[in-house]
């Protein structure tokens, strides 16, 4: 699992690095960047849904917030784009804290999904109705260009995507990350083992929301235009669809799902209005045939195996050794 991860990642990275050198038209480049932005969102949402079991529906709202806050700081606050990112992340983290604390404290499961849905839609309605600042439902035209060329843009997004994937992987190996996996498996058991549910969930929620906001901040100058539809709950729902299709709780599942969700409708453009019908049929059939998602069905271990077998064996050996020393130190039972 571990070796497979690095091989796939390096192959993907090499393909990613070489891609812009190949002759291709702007449209394909645009599509690839769109897929990568969608993947960043999906990977961060997978951290919440797939690894921690937090069914958030406010993800698109944070994505849109990131885009709006960064754009407003740059265009009205006069900050350079890159410097707007840090205050933007701080504001988003604070908002995630305000939303996450009561939601995680009082609700869980499907109720948490609906509370975050409510908060997300409230944010969208505020953005859509605050004409003086956000331009309301007319949207906001972005006039700054943080990158000289499309390639520069491409490589930055690629770095963020790979960084997010490695970051999520690293996070899941930390104490908090392992705690999150335990929470997803069994909340009650995790709590009885001394895991602070609220703290761990809140940290993960803020982290995931900040990554979404970062993706949003880069989306804005890429599209040159943002509108409140970005924050729509349908976007969050589509992300869940993409994650599930690719394989929930897998490293590469969100990537595969994003490719299908973003690229397939474009490939099927010849089919006209029917292309989304075909996409829908593909999703239904895939979901019914592969209940663990595409990646989940192909990988041998259970989809939760983020810690490699070797490491688990090492862990068990350590425990066994510890147990033996404890047993040796005990007086023999007569």
């Amino acid at each position: 699992m571990n070796r497979a991860f690095w091989i796939i990642l390096i192959v993907l990275l090499l393909v990613g690095l070489v891609l812009p050198v190949l002759p291709m038209n702007d449209y394909i480049m645009y599509l690839i960047i769109l897929v990568m932005l969608h993947s960043i969102l999906a990977v961060s949402m997978n951290l919440l849904i797939g690894y921690t079991g937090l069914f958030t529906l406010a993800h698109a709202a944070f994505y849109g917030l990131g885009a709006y806050i960064s754009a407003l700081l740059t265009m009205k606050g006069g900050l350079p784009f890159w410097e707007s990112l840090i205050p933007m992340l701080l504001i988003v983290a604070f908002m995630a804290l305000i939303i996450g604390y009561p939601s995680l404290r009082f609700t869980s499961g499907i109720y948490f999904a609906l509370v975050t849905f409510g908060f997300g839609e409230l944010i969208r309605l505020i953005v859509a109705n605050w004409y003086d600042v956000t331009g309301g439902s007319q949207g906001l035209r972005i006039n700054y260009v943080p990158f000289g060329s499309r390639e520069g843009y491409y490589y930055t997004i690629l770095i963020i995507l790979v960084g997010t994937m490695l970051g999520v992987r690293w996070f899941l190996r930390t104490k908090i990350g392992r705690g999150c996996l335990a929470i997803r498996e069994d909340e009650t058991l995790a709590e009885s083992l001394g895991i602070n549910l609220l703290k761990y969930k809140l940290i993960t929620f803020i982290l995931g929301s900040c990554i979404a906001a970062l993706a949003g901040a880069f989306y804005a100058p890429f599209m040159r235009f943002i509108n409140p539809d970005m924050l729509n709950v349908n976007m969050s729902v589509n992300l869940i669809g993409a994650i599930f299709l690719g394989g929930i709780g897998t490293t590469f599942g969100p990537l595969v799902g994003s490719i299908i969700f973003v690229a397939l409708p474009e490939v099927l453009r010849v089919a006209g209005t029917w292309r989304l019908v075909i996409l829908g049929a593909t999703i239904v059939v895939t979901v019914m045939l592969m209940k663990k998602g595409i990646v989940g069905s192909f990988s041998k271990g259970s989809p939760i195996m983020i810690i490699s077998k070797k490491e688990m064996v090492r862990g068990t050996k350590k425990q066994v050794a510890k147990k033996q020393t404890v047993e040796q130190s005990l007086p023999p039972i007569e």
């Binding site: 109720y111 509370v115 309605l125 709950v233 669809g241 029917w274 996409l279 019914m288």
Partner: protein, 290 residues
């Protein structure tokens, strides 16, 4: 002022009863199968479209068209249960993802067949009733009476018929119900079809007041989810109560506060309620025990 308030209240009840008709299907399907069915909104849309097509191209009475639409949607729901949802019950997420795919299929098939342009259905009644200083468009009154009657009938069905009791028993405990000799697979079909019928009729009624588009189902669907959770998952009286509450809150809020923020009032009620009563208005009380 007084008549203004009464009028706003009536408006709220009208919208609320339409929302509740959609929410009942969602809450029952979730309570029985554990599936958050996003395709439920499409039953609403298809109900409206079939009613529209039949009344305009064949010049048939609205009520007959309504019955045809309800039957067609019942058949569609039946087929979907047989083909898809039946195989998606072991995991919440499988059902959810499959229903998302179905939404894409149905929504865009409708858009491809009938074009995405908005359509308008002529109201059945064009008069305005004047009672006690209130002026109520008859069409709105008609829609309200039909939807309230529909919800009332469904409630009685759940309370007093054998099938209704079977549905309630299954919502409480699936295994125990099946041990008592309830054929759970047929009850699932009944619930899907009846939920579809309620949504289709609500859609057809909605179509006599507002525009018909292939994407009209998404707002009632979202409201349906809100009501389902607000009322307590799987609780039909809860969904009805929540529907009327959200409907009135929206109409009062948009009348006296801000109309643009209309959808927000329901969400505020949802958030506040869930933070105080984490299992909804009429859901089970207390924390889950091990």
């Amino acid at each position: 002022m007084g008549s203004d308030i009464v009028q706003t209240l009536l408006d709220g009840l009208l919208v609320g009863s339409l929302y509740a008709s959609v929410a009942i299907g969602i809450t029952l399907v979730f309570g029985l199968l554990g599936i958050l069915n996003f395709a439920h909104g499409e039953f609403f849309t298809i109900g409206a479209f079939i009613t529209f097509v039949i009344t305009t191209s064949y010049n048939v009475n609205f009520l007959i068209a309504l019955l045809v639409a309800a039957t067609a949607v019942a058949i569609l729901a039946f087929v979907l249960e047989k083909l898809v949802f039946r195989f998606c019950t072991e995991d919440h997420l499988v059902g959810l993802a499959a229903s998302l795919g179905l939404v894409l299929i149905l929504q865009n098939a409708i858009a491809a067949i009938w074009s995405p342009n908005p359509r308008y259905l002529d109201p059945v009644f064009n008069t305005t009733l004047k009672v006690l200083g209130l002026s109520i468009p008859s069409q709105r009154l008609f829609v309200m009476i039909v939807s309230v009657a529909l919800i009332g009938m469904f409630y009685l069905f759940l309370q007093y018929t054998k099938t209704g009791k079977a549905i309630r028993a299954m919502a409480q405990n699936r295994e125990a119900a099946s041990l008592m000799g309830i054929k759970t697979s047929s009850v699932n079909i009944v619930v899907f079809s009846l939920g579809g019928v309620l949504a289709a009729i609500a859609g057809a009624l909605f179509a006599t007041l507002f525009a018909i588009t292939p994407f009209m189902g998404s707002v009632p669907l979202m409201k349906g989810f809100v009501l389902t959770v607000l009322g307590g998952l799987g609780s039909v009286p809860g969904a009805i109560l929540a529907g009327l509450l959200v409907g009135t809150a929206e109409s009062f809020g948009s009348r006296f506060l801000s109309a643009a923020f209309r959808d927000g009032y329901g969400f505020i009620i949802l958030i506040v309620t869930l933070l105080v009563l984490p299992r909804g208005l009429l859901g089970k009380r207390g924390r889950e025990r091990v």
